[in-house]
């Protein structure tokens, strides 16, 4: 009996109030961490799968792949992002980019410059072959698109972000829609009816009426994708894309870390970027201090920057006026 007494005391001492408190706190921290980890799990998964994509930009005029050294940029230094938007509806095994926008972000001054690149621009791709610039992504992925833009526009692209149409719809819906002022009616009798399955080459009519309004994801997509009845054609569409991008940015300025899982779910499979978390933080910092006055928008309208010309292989193409384009690009993307 006496020999068992110390053992009982040892066991009893394990439930000493101090140890109990420590154990309780440990369990709470452990379970709280597990709860937070479960909440942010989609972000972690997406962070691994969709952000920080490695891009190996091939040099111009060469099919070979060599790493293009990226100039070291200090944190807070301006950087340039190539935004790519594709109709990832399955029409093409490798989607074309319907939208290409160069965006220069200056986190220090919170200035943003956007330059839309017409999708029909007839340019030499990074391989040396001539084609419409929207094919660069289809042929070479993000690396091909970046190399082609760098070669033709004489800019250095630090990062890229690609989003598919469905991702755009979901993201805008997640933001609760966007507010825009539609300057004129946008009517299109041949709008692609390819989002909700069915015949990929089907088309439908759409009508977005003028005036200030709240657009949900589907209607916003119609607004930025329609081009058939716009007197400015693809240029008008580019201007509308920039407009919605700015409206999204205004909404996004109020987002916080707790929104990340929803954003990731909305963009699942429809978003890829080379940006790491540091760059994303820079973007969020610019978004939080967003001021429309600090945004410069450039659309390469015809006839000054570009010109419509004869079709090539049945394709409508736009011919660049490089002198004007390079001047405006150099000025805004030094």
């Amino acid at each position: 009996m006496e020999g068992r007494a110390p053992a009982r005391r040892r066991r009893a001492s394990r439930l000493h109030p101090v140890r109990l408190v420590i154990l309780t706190l440990f369990c709470l921290v452990l379970s709280g961490t597990a709860g937070a980890a479960a909440y942010f799990l989609p972000v972690v998964v997406a962070g691994v799968g969709q952000t920080g994509q490695t891009v190996v930009v091939p040099p111009s005029n060469s099919p070979g792949l060599k790493v293009t050294p990226t100039p070291a940029t200090s944190p807070g230094a301006p950087f340039t992002v190539l935004l790519l938007g594709s109709d990832d509806d399955g029409k093409n095994k490798s989607p074309l980019t319907q939208s290409m926008i160069l965006v220069r972000v200056d986190p220090a001054s919170k200035h943003v410059t956007m330059e839309s690149i017409p999708r029909d621009l007839w340019v030499p791709l990074w391989t040396g072959e001539n084609a419409k610039i929207d094919a660069a992504y289809a042929y070479g992925g993000a690396a091909g698109a970046i190399a082609t833009v760098e070669r033709n526009f004489h800019v250095h692209v630090d990062e890229y972000a690609w989003v598919g149409l469905k991702g755009l719809i979901k993201l805008i819906d997640l933001l609760g829609g966007v507010d825009v002022f539609v300057t004129n009616p946008v009517l299109d009798d041949a709008y692609p009816d390819d989002i909700n399955g069915g015949f990929l080459y089907g088309y439908k009519t759409v009508a977005v009426l003028p005036g200030a309004q709240h657009l949900d994801g589907s209607r916003a997509l119609q607004y930025v994708r329609s081009r058939h009845n716009d007197i400015n054609g693809d240029f008008g569409r580019s201007a509308r894309q920039q407009q919605v991008l700015l409206a999204m940015k205004i909404k996004a300025s109020t987002l916080n870390a707790a929104d990340l899982p929803d954003i990731v779910n909305a963009l699942a499979g429809n978003f890829k970027t080379s940006m790491g978390l540091d760059r994303v933080r820079s973007l969020l910092s610019v978004a939080s201090g967003f001021d429309l006055a600090n945004v410069k928008q450039i659309v390469l309208y015809a006839p000054f920057y570009t010109n419509y010309g004869p079709q090539i292989s049945g394709q409508s193409v736009i011919y660049p006026h490089w002198t004007q384009i390079l001047a405006v690009t150099k000025e805004n993307f030094p």
Partner: protein, 370 residues
């Protein structure tokens, strides 16, 4: 041993509960734009009781606002742009189908009495749009925007022009009243005047490829283009004529993404100096009160950006001084169009009052108020 088991039994559910609590708590930290969703107007209470009866639209549903409360009316569907006939006995509204839209005559409870147009077709290209219905002051003629005739051998897409048809007639009797500028979206927002006059908004493009909106006056049916009442540079649209026909409220942007709510005197042939009542917001669809003393309009509110209904008393117009009336404050258009004249806002700046809270009214459907 028993104490350890007891502790384990107690700790496990505690850990589960706390972990779940952290998960749920993080969910509550989401920003308002993500969390906030619009309420149906019928579950909200307007902050201001407006006189008369008003019809508004949210998410394709028609709502009547009367005596400070909303009632949903009408059959299910994608309804928009209700307008009241001059005798206040009927509504005319737009019903969107998949690829087209049609005008319907409704009673004031939203019951369909008659389909006025038939614009749908199994063949996509043969579908048509009809928007912006408005009945002439004598109640005999229906004016609306319609995307006909279709472009032939051109890029797919069409522009709206203003059409009119007898309200008691059929669509086959409809006649085109304006000639739109191609590939701009066309002409919208007809306001028939007493007699043969017609106000409408034309969209056009200048030499720098910028698209403009301009309020124009057609004095007689054969004049397909009409004369400008505002300058191209002002980019004015969404006109609303006061009940006595002497003032025109409008939205002007000057080509920017923010708007001004302006009011200008109208003598039947031209606009006088415009007064800016509000500026710097996304204002939409101004509509006069039945007594002509106030305006309601839509504008976003809060982080979610949902469009709410706002009320604004319209101050009595000052007599413009010669110096104010002489040079137009807005730059005249390249085409030499008439320019509206700005008069500085009154010292007693009107203060808007937010009428609704938590809804998301369709900003492109002006309220119908009588």
């Amino acid at each position: 041993m028993i104490a350890r088991r007891l502790a384990a039994i107690l700790f496990l559910p505690m850990m589960l509960a706390f972990g779940s609590g952290v998960y749920l708590y993080l969910g509550t930290l989401k920003s308002k734009v993500v969390k906030t969703r619009a309420d149906i107007p019928t579950v909200t209470k307007p902050r201001l009781v407006l006189p008369g009866t008003m019809f508004v639209v949210q998410d394709g549903r028609l709502f009547r606002l009367k005596d400070g409360s909303f009632t949903e009316i009408g059959a299910p569907g994608d309804w928009s742009q209700p307008t009241v006939t001059p005798d206040h006995t009927h509504l005319i509204a737009v019903l969107r189908g998949g690829y087209s839209s049609d005008l319907y005559l409704l009673d004031l409870d939203g019951h369909i009495l008659k389909r006025l147009t038939k614009n749908d077709s199994r063949i996509v290209d043969y579908n048509h749009w009809a928007f912006y219905p408005r009945v002439s002051p004598d109640g005999s003629t229906l004016f609306y925007s319609y995307d006909g005739p279709k472009h032939v051998d051109a890029a797919p897409g069409d522009d709206l022009s203003i059409w009119s048809m007898p309200l008691n007639g059929s669509q086959s009797q409809a006649r085109r009243r304006t000639d739109p500028y191609w590939y701009t979206g066309g002409d919208v927002t007809p306001i028939p005047l007493a007699g043969t006059g017609l106000l409408f908004v034309q969209h056009s493009i200048d030499s720098s490829t910028a698209v403009h909106s301009q309020i124009r006056l057609q004095s007689r049916p054969g004049d397909l283009v009409g004369k400008p009442l505002t300058s191209l540079a002002d980019n004015c649209s969404e006109p609303a004529l006061s009940p006595d026909g002497t003032q025109l409220a409008m939205i002007c942007t000057g080509g920017k993404q923010i708007a001004m709510l302006e009011v200008a005197p109208f003598n039947g042939t031209s606009l006088g100096p415009a007064r800016v009542l509000l500026e710097g917001g996304l204002y939409a669809s101004p509509t006069w009160s039945p007594d002509g003393q106030a305006l309601v309009y839509f504008a976003p509110s809060g982080a979610a950006g949902h469009f709410e209904l706002w009320w604004l008393a319209v101050p009595v117009a000052p007599t413009p001084s010669p110096s104010a009336a002489a040079p137009p404050a807005h730059s005249p258009s390249a085409g030499g169009a008439a320019s509206s004249i700005l008069v500085p806002s009154l010292p007693a700046t009107p203060v808007p009052v937010q009428v609704t809270q938590g809804v998301d009214l369709t900003a492109t459907s002006p309220p119908a108020w009588y």
